[in-house]
């Protein structure tokens, strides 16, 4: 008995010692050591997203006394460069595009997280592919540049469930069934799709998402990876076919509410709203799961709206899941900033957001029962059970392409300023050498 107690004691001491050695900024924070400090943060969350973010960190703030000030901007992609290159970065930056972060890592502006966080905990809480996607090359070699927070599943087709059931439509399981459904809706006198790609200075990104989804559905994963790295050209037959596949849907007569030209002038967030007009003006809307924050208020997930995954086009390639997400990087090293970053690696930093809908948590300690509605739970399952997952390609490409020519040329193509041929060649030409 005594022996046992001593052993237990020894083990406890060892564990305590090990924990002490492996400094943990978070426990210091919970001990109240950083009370009264402020951590500034910049990112693209505005409106509803900003409210949900603030809600999700509220408990942390009151427990630690650290105030997290999030400054959201719709011009985030442009404004963050001004701040970082001007030598006045916020403490933490929330990038919706790893490609943009990679630019700053390249010039040595971001802090290597593996040196400041408790990496044992971080590694235990993410699957390898998220860690890989957070590792980027700096001037002195690869660093842990960021950690993944809220993630989105893309290639999700939303529909107004009540009206859909009433009209007697069936959820399509294959591309052919989808085409038949589109024909049926048109025959009934409505437009099948609600599509908008206007997004201020970022106009065109919604078209890049469709391109990625079609790349995953019309060619191999290996080709997708080569394309993202710039090895497979936009002018290749594979990429052209992917763009052509969605073009057939978008440009087909009567397929999109408002017609082809209205796609470029309609804001991506507004475009989804007409699904819920009474009667609906359009029936289907393909967008990441974050779009639910743009839906009219007061809708019940699973009752008023539901989703199906965009079906496979070709059974050989199936329907791999496209994901996007926010990666948080650290630009100023202070103890309280470390604590906040460590906190963001925990599922609980997203708990209330997950509960209120519109977000999926990539962390391992996030519980499935946090998803309070059937729609989010099914999305969470989709992410977990997917045969293959790929990250949003445009967000991984260099900024000049992923936040530049890809958006702009797809916009030019949709608006009819450029032909497909002109557009893909212009994107290829803009790829940094």
């Amino acid at each position: 008995m005594r022996q046992k107690i001593i052993t237990l004691f020894a083990i406890l001491t060892l564990v305590a010692g090990a924990t002490a050695l492996q400094a943990d900024p978070l426990s210091d924070a919970y001990a109240g050591k950083f009370k009264g400090t402020t951590v500034t943060m910049s990112g693209p969350f505005t409106d509803n997203d900003a409210v949900k973010f603030n809600e999700s960190v509220k408990e942390f703030e009151s427990r630690t006394g650290i105030s997290i000030q999030y400054e959201g901007s719709k011009e985030f992609e442009a404004s963050i460069s001004i701040r970082v290159n001007g030598g006045n970065p916020p403490d933490v930056v929330d990038f919706p595009q790893p490609g943009l972060l990679a630019n700053f890592v390249k010039t040595g502006k971001a802090i290597d997280l593996s040196k400041v966080l408790n990496m044992t905990k971080v590694k235990a809480n993410y699957i390898q592919s998220w860690l890989d996607m957070g590792t980027m090359t700096g001037p002195k070699g690869p660093i842990m540049a960021g950690i993944w927070a809220r993630v989105n599943v893309k290639g999700i087709v939303w529909y107004n469930k009540k009206a859909f059931d009433q009209a007697g439509y069936q959820v399509p399981k294959t591309w052919d069934e989808l085409k038949k459904l589109m024909d049926q809706i048109k025959k009934d006198g409505d437009a099948p799709w609600a599509i908008g790609i206007e997004s201020g200075a970022a106009t065109g990104w919604a078209a890049t998402d469709w391109t990625e989804e079609m790349m995953l559905r019309t060619t191999s994963l290996a080709n997708y990876d080569r394309w993202v790295k710039g090895q497979l050209k936009f002018s290749s037959p594979e990429v052209r076919r992917a763009i052509q596949t969605w073009s057939d849907v978008w440009f087909g007569d009567g397929n999109v509410y408002g017609g082809r030209t209205a796609i470029a002038t309609t804001s991506f967030g507004d475009s989804s709203k007409i699904l819920f007009d009474n009667p609906p003006k359009a029936w289907l809307h393909n967008q990441g799961n974050f779009i639910v924050t743009f839906f009219p208020e007061g809708l019940t997930p699973g009752v008023d709206f539901d989703f199906f995954q965009l079906p496979a086009v070709n059974s050989t390639y199936g329907a791999p899941v496209l994901v996007g997400g926010d990666i948080y990087a650290m630009f100023k090293d202070r103890p309280e900033v470390r604590a906040v970053m460590q906190y963001f690696t925990m599922g609980e930093s997203l708990k209330t957001w997950v509960q209120s809908g519109g977000a999926l948590a990539p962390q391992r300690d996030a519980q499935l029962d946090w998803y309070t509605n059937p729609v989010d739970r099914r999305l969470g399952e989709l992410l977990k059970t997917a045969a293959a997952v790929r990250f949003d390609g445009s967000d991984l490409m260099p900024g000049a392409v992923g936040a530049g020519s890809f958006w702009k040329e797809m916009t030019a193509y949709v608006s009819g300023t450029h032909t497909l041929d002109q557009a893909v060649k212009a994107i290829d030409a803009s790829w940094p050498k």
């Binding site: 402020t38 992609e77 442009a78 404004s79 460069s81 001004i82 630019n103 390249k106 010039t107 006198g189 437009a191 201020g200 200075a201 106009t203 065109g204 509410y257 408002g258 017609g259 030209t261 209205a262 796609i263 470029a264 002038t265 309609t266 003006k281 260099p398 900024g399 000049a400 936040a403 530049g404 702009k408 916009t411 030019a412 608006s415 009819g416 300023t417 212009a426 030409a429 940094p432």
Partner: protein, 359 residues
Amino acid sequence: MAKQHRALGYLGFILLLAATAVVLYGGFALLKTIGGSKILSAAFAVVWGVGSVALLYFVLNMGAERLPRRARAILVPVVFAGPALVLLFWFLVLPTLRTLWLSFFDDTSTRFVFLENYRFAFTDRIMLESFRNNLLWMVFGTLLCVGLGLVIAVLADRSRWEKLYKAIIFMPMAISFVGAGVIWKFIYAYKGEAAGIQEIGLLNALVVALGGKAQAWLLIGGWNNFLLIVIMVWLQTGYAMVILSSAIKAVPAELLEAARMDGASEFRIFFRVIIPVIEGSIVTVTTTIVIFSLKLFDIVRVMTGGNYGTNVIANEFYMEQFTYGQTGRASAIAIVLLVAVVPVMIYNLRQFAERRAFK
């Protein structure tokens, strides 16, 4: 006794100078520590910033005044213009030189590429498109602003309601370019074609009311540039109008009377008398608006983001630097833009000098 007095005076001055330095630096140090409360630090920055600069001028001037007459004549201008020149050098000349330097390097500013970025600036498809658009802005924007401004100034001059007309034309000047962009976004708004669509755009409402078809105005290649130029004209005509109006009012009445006595028609008087007299003002207004349209950025950024063939040089510069991270290219574009503006500016300054605006 007098000597002693003077020595004391110098000592006092040096102490005062030291005190000023303390106020200047101490305020700066204090400002850094305040940080937390934004309102407090802003208020402090204003009071301290204005106050300490005024103090610095006052003290330096006092020192200069004490010097013998000859030294004073040299030092007083230095005291007053010196700090401004130093700041100008620091904030304007140095960055320009650095931009020039960076324009010869690659995107990370480490590898020397010499003229590669300039080759890009003059051959890239989007850059060429931007050059073309800036030319459109320069020619049509300026012509319309100055032309309309002149016509309105002349007509209003003969009207009973001059003040009212001028106030209305001048009012948009109070609106920022971004604000104007938002207003015009609603004017050009397009919702598409389908059953039950209500156009909310003013222009489309007019077109539909007249029996036409709604258009996506900002997507119409070529014409969309002119639709954007209209916004600048709307904003800037007021500026041209007030300057030209005051010039017209300064045309001597005897001159006009003499012309009328000689039997000149009103058109003849306008072209042969008024225009030559106010030529200086026309040139000034024109060059100002030309420079303005060369640097144009906000309207395009807000309305189209440079899409649909409406890009301009300044927006492309911004995209290269802040979205694509291409520092070298962006620097090269900035230098090209600077070089394009400089001749107009020199011409403008010459005009000022001729009219003794600086004497």
